[in-house]
Symmetry: C2
Subunit: 366 residues, 2 copies
């Protein structure tokens, strides 16, 4: 039994009380005494531990040697958002990384995986990435997902227990319940660097975000590593709202890109220079053009629901969570086939403020 | 007589006592009650006011209309460092923007301008940019200065008085004493936007940094505006030490670049994308290669002196000023013709630390 220190966490503002319909729970808003951020404790119900941080190596060869002591499983890292799906009472819910119940993922879950697995394994926690062009959180999306979203399981946990189900057992459960899984590229010894690099170069060419290494040992140590192209993609999709993110978001990605090139022995090319430059300029010119036309900088998101009420729940939640940084406003909610399609805008207040000041001829002192 | 509030500024840590040889003075380290940072008050001697901040417009057309109420002089902005040259007792000294006596500029001043002007005008303060490939402060340098440094006067002040000598009087003094001056592109009405734009597009093509507008009126209001190319140059020369600068340094320049393009009606081109991407990648790949070879990231500076002692003074000053952020270490000091040539390195500790950690296979959590 893991000590949750819940009262203390609540007292110190490291956990907060919340509710979803009639379900009441506490949510850890920070790491606290070994309990990860995003851990959720239901009243008279289960505890679902948070998904722990995975560190990133930027130099692959040296990173493998430094971080691991046994062969590693190499799995695809998908560019989406992290959820934990589980059963509480007779409902199946999906939590975001931060420990919010996600109305969108919860609504769509039966269409994204066989939730019958929770009948057979009632205390299972399915850790997965949800990704695709029609998701409510991220602009980026894997290029091979053409519409809607898909779910990719990458870990399994048990309620009330931190830590993951070991690889072989996870593989067996995934197979038995036909769960959609991330690609597992294989198990590699630490000296099989050439083979690992080949996988990475191919992943980069295919527009994949990167990989996660998981040590095949009891301690199950992990590290992630991303491809060069995913850094450019990140810049490309966020340049429109460059002022809403810490500037380090951008400089870190350029550093990662350079270390990927250097590590993989890839040459800097005119094409790469051009893609990096275009990633910045296209988005920002778009922001300026948008501001000139509409007097605001925003991006429209679209996602579909089975139940109309969940769309409203999502809007309410987004408006509460993001009120300070980004304004969320609904465009439309329309029936389309068997779904309700929600469209909403994220309006970027810093972009609007700064472009308004600058395009209005204001001075800056720097 | 302007109130200096010096005792108060010293008490509050907004001014500090300093010395240069036998000269003792106080230096304002911050703007304080209307006295600009960099103001210097000599014991029993003159006061030299700091050079005030000039705001930047990023949208030219609207900026001119917003900031000015009368025609403006348009002058070249040179990519160098700001100095104020003046006479105290029988010496002529040069102050940096921050109010340090610059041993390099002070040493070279008689070769950069006719200091006889201070015989005729003892209380003159010459405000100038010093620029060129062999300067001790900046990596960037105007492309048409092939070696050493040159000095470009852009304002004149009087000792003990804030504010500038008006344009016509300045022009007369510059001419009479044959002082090297920045280019004055002309005097423009605010509705002559097309003519102003033509000058800017040409300046951009010629690799010039930008322009300063000075209102032809008693209030002498100013604003600066930089070219697209100068933003790329800034990124290019600092990418090697990207982690030593605030990340906003880079994102701001990309924003300025985009606003320049949009303002001037220039198309985004493949060539521009490529140059922006290359500006980041070339420098950073260089830093990684340098770290692999030399276990540090550094840049070598070179500058020449008339007097050997001044080279030592500069080294001592740089080591004191930059101790916390950047390590400065001397490479060599050699006689060459009529000069002493100093070579020294700036070693970038954050680059060394981060690359050491990452290339050693360390993890980052973000």
């Amino acid at each position: 039994m893991v000590a949750l220190h819940l009262e203390e966490a609540l007292d110190q503002g490291k956990a907060r009380l919340a509710a979803y319909d009639a379900l009441r729970f506490a949510r850890y808003t920070d790491d606290f005494k070994g309990i990860p951020r995003g851990t959720v404790v239901f009243d008279d119900g289960p505890t679902v531990f948070g998904y722990p941080h995975i560190g990133r190596v930027l130099a692959l060869g040296q990173g493998l040697v430094e971080q691991f002591a046994a062969p590693v499983w190499m799995e695809e890292k998908i560019d989406g958002y992290n959820v934990r799906a589980f059963r509480v009472g007779d409902r199946v819910l999906a939590l975001t990384r931060g420990g919010f119940v996600c109305p969108f993922t919860t609504d769509r879950l039966p269409e994204l995986m066989d939730i019958g697995v929770f009948g057979a394994e009632p205390d299972l926690v399915v850790c997965a990435e949800v990704a695709g062009p029609e998701n409510p959180y991220l602009e980026a999306s894997p290029p091979w997902i053409e519409e809607d979203v898909a779910l990719f399981v990458f870990d399994l946990m048990r309620q009330g227990r931190p830590g993951f189900i070991p690889h072989a057992r996870r593989a067996a459960l995934v197979q038995r319940h036909a769960l959609p899984s991330v690609q597992v590229f294989g198990r590699y010894r630490l000296d099989e660097l050439e083979a690992i690099r080949e996988v990475l170069v191919r992943a980069n060419d295919e527009g994949r975000e990167g990989v996660v290494f998981k040590e095949d040992s009891q301690r199950d140590r992990r590290a992630k590593y991303v491809t060069s192209n995913s850094n450019i993609t990140d810049i490309q999709v966020t340049a429109l709202n460059i002022l809403e993110l810490p500037a380090e978001y951008f400089t870190n990605r350029i550093l990662r890109l350079v270390l990927f090139l250097e590590e993989q022995g890839l040459e800097r090319s005119r094409e790469l220079d051009e893609r990096l430059g275009a990633a910045f300029l296209e988005g920002l010119l778009g922001a300026v053009a948008q501001y000139r036309e509409e007097k605001k900088v925003f991006r429209t998101y679209r996602c579909r629901f089975r139940d109309r009420d969940n769309a409203q729940r999502l809007m309410t939640q987004l408006q509460q969570i993001t009120a300070r940084q980004v304004n969320v406003s609904r465009r439309s909610l329309k029936r389309q086939g068997s779904h309700w399609v929600l469209e909403f805008d994220r309006v970027y207040p810093s972009m609007c403020g700064v472009l308004g000041h600058l395009l209005g001829g204001g001075l800056v002192f720097d």
